[in-house]
Symmetry: C2
Subunit: 198 residues, 2 copies
């Protein structure tokens, strides 16, 4: 295949390693970067390096953070008696969109997935138990509502219950604004199982 | 909105300026970059800077290139009597996929678009005329088959014809492997107008 420049080819190949970026998109992005001003390109390169340089993990909850402990763990206005367990730090950003919800978090760093060789020891589970020192009254398990997420939730439930804290799971049901007609059977089943009195 | 880290926010905002990358995709990419090893992040940043550093434009055909003149302009095996005019350097990569087609190129750097304030003086048109010194027998206009591309083609046709060279336009018609049933009316009209004897 014709290649107009080696360094452009290299940029395309680096970009196309990223998730959801195929060779075509990578090519379009590379041409865009080529058309950027030198300052903009520098800004992009610096932002990539800076994020690796500055951002680490909170040693308490494993959220990504520039400080340790992170801003959530040091926030005095949060209800530290509730720990919300998530798979990835990006899930915290999603959960923080909820109103009137100010728990502490705990990032597992993945989910149980025997097929991918990910077992309990690969996740931040022991550090979760270390936090259950009596000050915590509820653990909300907010792993994703898919097969591995559910399995991880069940596994955690079994292990956390002996600590004498309430273990809850986020509700599965119809998304707000959704349409019964287009919902799948499993979701409808869950919505019916989780029905509440009005 | 909750932000876990300022530098992550900055990376998301830089990434989301790129074409086809919205805030959600930018967020996903930023988290991917965060999970990269330091070496991989450095490789990405370097590739971005290197492309700006090394890649310039060929002074003859305005193709992007690390050398001047570019590899195509200095290639002795090419048929320099044919100049294929394209909008962008990325179009050359697409045209080079064609078999038995080895012309010289000329990159306009855009197309006529009065609404966007892009007139003839904003494109590499005068430099095209300078190349029509008698050694060129055919100019193939390969601007995109859309409204602005067609307008640019007609404009160029009028100006190039007086130089006494043959001016041709790439064929519009049904894409190979396409389906008459799903083709739009304009494409079918063009395919019929461009029919050839078997």
């Amino acid at each position: 295949m014709y290649q107009s420049s080696e360094s452009l080819g290299r940029l395309v190949s680096v970009l196309s390693r990223m998730p959801g970026i195929g060779r075509k998109t990578a090519g379009r992005l590379a041409f865009y970067i080529l058309k950027m001003s030198r300052e903009e390109a520098k800004e992009l390169a610096d932002a990539v390096l800076e994020v690796k340089e500055k951002v680490g993990n909170c040693s308490v909850c494993f959220n990504i953070s520039e400080n340790d402990p992170c801003n959530i763990c040091t926030d005095q206005r949060r209800d530290k008696s509730i720990i919300c367990v998530v798979e990835e730090a990006s899930d915290i950003i999603a959960l923080e969109k909820a109103e009137e919800f100010n728990p502490a978090y705990h990032v597992l760093g993945g989910r149980l997935s025997p097929l991918d060789g990910i077992g309990p020891d690969d996740l931040n589970i022991k550090s979760l138990f270390a936090r259950l020192d009596g000050s915590v009254s509820e653990v909300i398990i907010a792993t994703n509502p898919d097969v591995e997420g559910e399995a991880t939730a069940m596994y955690l439930n079994k292990l956390v219950t002996p600590f004498g804290v309430k273990v809850t799971r986020i509700a599965r049901g119809l998304p707000v604004g959704g349409d019964l007609e287009y919902a799948d059977g499993v979701t409808i089943t869950r919505a019916l199982q989780g029905r509440q009195e009005l």
